[in-house]
Amino acid sequence: MRIFRSLHLPRMARAIAGLVLLSLTLPLIASCGVNSIPTYEEQARAAWAQVLNQYQRRTDLIPNLVATVKGAANFESKTLQAVVEARAKVGQMQLPADVLTNPQAMQAFEQNQAGLTSALSRLLVVSEQYPELKANANYQTLQAQLEGTENRIAVARRDYIDAVRLYNTELRTFPGRWWAWLLYPDAKEMAQFTIDDRAAAVPAVNFNTP
């Protein structure tokens, strides 16, 4: 503003000049990425919400599944117990508010969910040995829902990985780095998934040992 004062312009003219200057520079600033960081951050948070949403959907399906499977004559109790325990573990978990920027918390979350994933898929594999269960309409519906949910989880995780990759890259590279230093000093890189969900899901089942 010192420039304008030195020009001895009237107050009004100065204000107008300032506004014009601002309106000219604002789009310039916006187009060179000043908004990228908050935009990408919101996208990553939305993707994370979707991940939580789909995991929750799975958790909600389990009581029904357990009840149905229990109805089948002498279903292997060890497998069932593992699912119940894994679900309890997931249910007890308290997610800290900063889970997205806290790799340890993220890993704990993932470990618990992966435990449930493998317990569940083991249950589905073992169920193949029970013809009456497989013929049960209720079980068929639950199985379809569970498979669909696992697939949705995989998609949500993939979308989260992509969103975080975009956000973290923006924070690390020019010009996002400068904008972060200048305007968003609180912006922190988000934690990525480290466990491959599908790899963790492959159950080892041996039907020969009781």
């Binding site: 068929q140 519906t141 379809a144 498979e147 989880i153 995989a154 998609v155 690390r172 990525q192």
Partner: protein
């Protein structure tokens, strides 16, 4: 220290698996028979059904046959095709794909975000395993695809007229029997869908599809009134997918 941390971060991010993105075939119409398993008659029949279903409901239903899954899962293909082509209307995400890989003996119904309520996984699973797979098992790929398309359309609240068999025109037979014969599969589909659905939740779904029937969507361009020809000018509306649907094999 900073430098070391930067290296560590890079090392953390680098080995992440690349998003599986199979080389998707071009979207040549509502029916993409890349595996060449359908005859012209069936192809025209199905394309006509898909086109008139879209005209009446706004839902984009696309059928794909794939020559080869190329090592990816059919779920990966479903997502890549659905999002890559943008099937369904933008904002409504009301697209559905029926994907068949004859060589790999796999199939999938991929349901767009916006239709997961109308076509829940269990319904899609019922269509896959009770309607399509038995026909595929007996070697009838066109019949399975045709019946599957009918079932999906009926399941989403659409109407299916004059059903499948090529020899349906028999003018010398004026009795009621051919009429019934022609409609029997249709009636069975409806019954199956209703049964599957009753089991899941207490009915009431037929009302809920009516909002989709009103038409009046802004997107023109692909729902030309003819629609029976080889899908000229058909393109996805920008819909997205979240992994809903069901897969099966035979």
């Amino acid at each position: 220290m900073r430098f070391a941390m930067a290296i560590a971060l890079l090392a953390l991010v680098a080995p992440l698996p690349a998003v599986a993105d199979p080389a998707i075939p071009p979207l040549t119409g509502r029916l993409v028979d890349a595996a060449h398993v359908l005859d012209d008659w069936t192809r025209n029949q199905i394309e006509g059904e898909l086109a008139s279903f879209e005209t009446s409901s706004g839902i984009q239903l696309v059928v794909v046959t794939l020559p080869d899954l190329g090592g990816d899962t059919i779920e990966d293909w479903g997502l890549a095709l659905g999002r890559g082509w943008g099937i369904g209307q933008k904002g409504k995400n009301n697209g559905v794909l029926l994907i068949v890989a004859p060589k790999d003996h796999k199939l999938r119904i991929e349901v767009g975000y916006g239709l997961e309520g109308e076509m829940p996984d269990a319904t899609a699973n019922g269509i896959v395993n009770n309607i399509i797979v038995p026909r595929f098992r007996s070697g009838d790929i066109p019949g399975g695809i045709g019946a599957g398309v009918d079932a999906i359309i009926v399941g989403l609240g659409g109407k299916v007229e004059g059903v499948t068999a090529p020899a349906q025109t028999s003018p010398n037979n004026s009795s009621v029997t051919p009429f019934l014969k022609g409609f029997l599969p249709f009636i069975i589909f409806i019954a199956v869908i209703i049964m599957i659905n009753r089991r899941r939740r207490g009915g009431g779904r037929w009302g809920s599809v009516y909002p989709y029937m009103g038409g009046g969507f802004g997107r023109g361009g692909f729902s030309s009134s003819s629609g029976f020809s080889g899908g000229g000018g058909f393109s996805g509306g920008g819909g997205s997918f979240g992994g809903g649907g069901a897969s099966g094999g035979w």
